[in-house]
């Protein structure tokens, strides 16, 4: 890309940023559980039934994570009794109340939408 085109590109991007798009943290399309001693066991126990995003969006205290883990074990999650406490520590350490807010991704837009035509019922 030429220098001229680069300049035009940056100007266009700056001008085309819609004011109505709120600032967000970058959203991940594919979530994985974070690194740690319990990553693999948590992946096996939890992601058999649902994706990591359901865990990653939580911001829960250790007491609440404890209830969740025990409920999920009752519902079929395979967690060795010796791993229970470490799993709770892993989840509450990574997804506790102090962690930054989670930002969810969006699905693709199916077609160009014209907002100004949306104000009438169908």
């Amino acid at each position: 890309m030429s220098h001229k085109n680069s300049v035009i590109l940056l100007v266009l991007i700056a001008l085309s940023t819609p004011a109505w798009i709120p600032a967000q943290n970058s959203a991940k399309l594919n979530e994985e559980l974070p690194a740690g001693a319990m990553q693999q066991k948590a992946t096996t126990a939890c992601l058999e039934c649902h994706e990591a995003r359901i865990i990653v969006q939580q911001r829960l205290s250790k007491a609440v994570w404890t209830k969740e883990v025990d409920k999920m074990v009752k519902w079929g999650a395979v967690v060795d009794a010796n791993d229970r406490d470490a799993l709770i520590d892993y989840l509450s350490g990574n997804f506790g109340p102090g962690q930054p807010e989670y930002s969810a991704p969006r699905s693709a837009q199916e077609k160009t939408t014209v907002r100004s035509t949306r104000r009438t019922s169908k």
């Binding site: 399309l29 969006r106 169908k122």
Partner: protein
């Protein structure tokens, strides 16, 4: 490739990279770009979960009385049923009845059709705003939508089965694929609500057959109540002598009888089943964090109240010191939200805009929603911050 096309291609590719770096939301980009999730039939939805599917509507889409299906939130507790031939589907009606009945889809659609415009809201809509946070899908403002649902009245189906006088509750079982030892998604509603002339077995939504995500071929439609009452992929209706006992009736979908200190636990005996929706409003524009030019600004949004009617929506542009009446939209139906607008000559400055709805039962949105351990029925006064330049 000519230089212009090369430039446009470069622009497109570069824009994706810059967008990602700048933290643009994925939906602001096009389908060709790799930073949004391709979900056919779903348009720019906030993806709370893909497996199982939970999609939230972004507030800027709340600008029509009827929500297009492609923008209608999706709440799945479990995996969707595997694809099957609609011709093989059967709905059975049994329990406390004189005649156990079975309906094919064809037989169901031959019954008199009734339509209800209903605002459907997940009980957990707004859960993500409670502090301390509670477990569950962290919905914000968009697990709600309004559609015209059509299908036979549940009452007509129950009359064909001759419900016994002992039948007091109506149980719905869906075809959700249950993972592990998770309890099946079964709930019940009282017979009085089941016999209401607006309670349906819906086969259509906004004039088209239900999509798979919304419960094809048939779902319950319990108007004015939380979404969980309107069981999707319905396969069985059973008349019971008493309320169904199961996870999704207790401890699921229950609300404390008394005010709870945030973070406290509540004994099951101190709770009741969540049924009707709260009074609530949401500002759909201007969007939070937006920057506008001074002059005429129209604040707009939606307001609903379950089985009650919205009587007024008030807007504050000064952080709650004073409130001004919004104009309610003409379109209305018993269980449907009202659109509203409020126009205001905005001068330069930073503003906190708030909306507060009041319903026909005298309920008004509170400054703070009533915290509860499952994060249900969030309905605090809505607010957005904007900058006027």
């Amino acid at each position: 490739m000519d230089s212009r096309r090369t430039f446009l291609k470069t622009l497109s590719g570069a824009a994706v990279g810059v967008a990602a770096l700048a933290g643009w939301p994925a939906w602001a980009q096009t389908t060709e770009q790799s930073s949004s999730i391709n979900l056919p039939g779903e348009d720019g939805m906030i993806v709370r979960s893909q497996r199982f599917l939970d999609l939230e509507t972004s507030v800027e889409y709340f600008d029509s009385w009827l929500t297009p299906v492609s923008h209608f939130f999706v709440r799945n507790h479990m995996h969707e049923p595997v694809e099957r031939n609609a011709g093989d589907w059967r709905l059975t009606v049994g329990g406390e009845v004189d005649k156990v009945s079975t309906f094919s889809l064809r037989e169901l659609t031959q019954l008199p059709v009734h339509s209800v415009v209903n605002t459907l809201e997940c009980a957990g809509n707004g859960r993500g705003f409670y502090r301390p946070q509670v477990p569950g899908i962290q919905w914000q403002k968009g697990a709600v939508g309004t559609a015209r649902f059509s299908g036979p009245r549940l009452a007509d189906i129950l009359h064909r089965a001759d419900v016994k006088s002992s039948g007091k509750h109506v149980m719905f079982r869906g075809l959700d694929e249950v993972p592990g030892k998770v309890p099946p998604f079964i709930r019940s509603i009282p017979i009085e609500k089941a016999l209401d002339s607006d309670t349906l077995i819906a086969t259509h939504m906004n004039g088209a057959p239900l999509t798979k995500h919304h419960g094809f071929p048939a779902r319950a439609l319990v108007p004015g109540w939380i979404g969980a009452a309107s069981c999707k992929w319905l396969e069985e209706i059973k008349i019971l002598e008493s309320e169904f006992v199961g996870n999704f009736m207790s401890p699921g979908y229950r609300f404390p009888n008394q005010v709870v200190k945030p973070g406290d636990s509540v004994k099951p005996e101190d709770t009741h089943v969540v049924t009707g929706l709260n009074v609530k409003s949401v500002i759909s524009g201007p969007l939070d964090g937006s920057s506008l030019k001074s002059g005429q600004v129209t604040v707009h949004g939606i307001a609903w109240a379950g089985e009650a009617d919205i009587v007024k929506v008030e807007i504050s542009i000064d952080g709650g010191s004073s409130w001004n009446p919004a104009t309610l939209g003409r379109e209305q139906s018993r269980y449907a939200w009202r659109l509203w607008t409020f126009s205001w000559n905005a001068k330069r400055g930073d503003y906190l805009i708030q909306s507060r709805a009041t319903d026909s039962r005298g309920r008004a949105q509170p400054m703070e929603a009533a915290w509860n351990p499952s994060g249900y029925l969030y309905n605090a006064i809505d607010q957005v911050k904007i900058h006027v330049a």
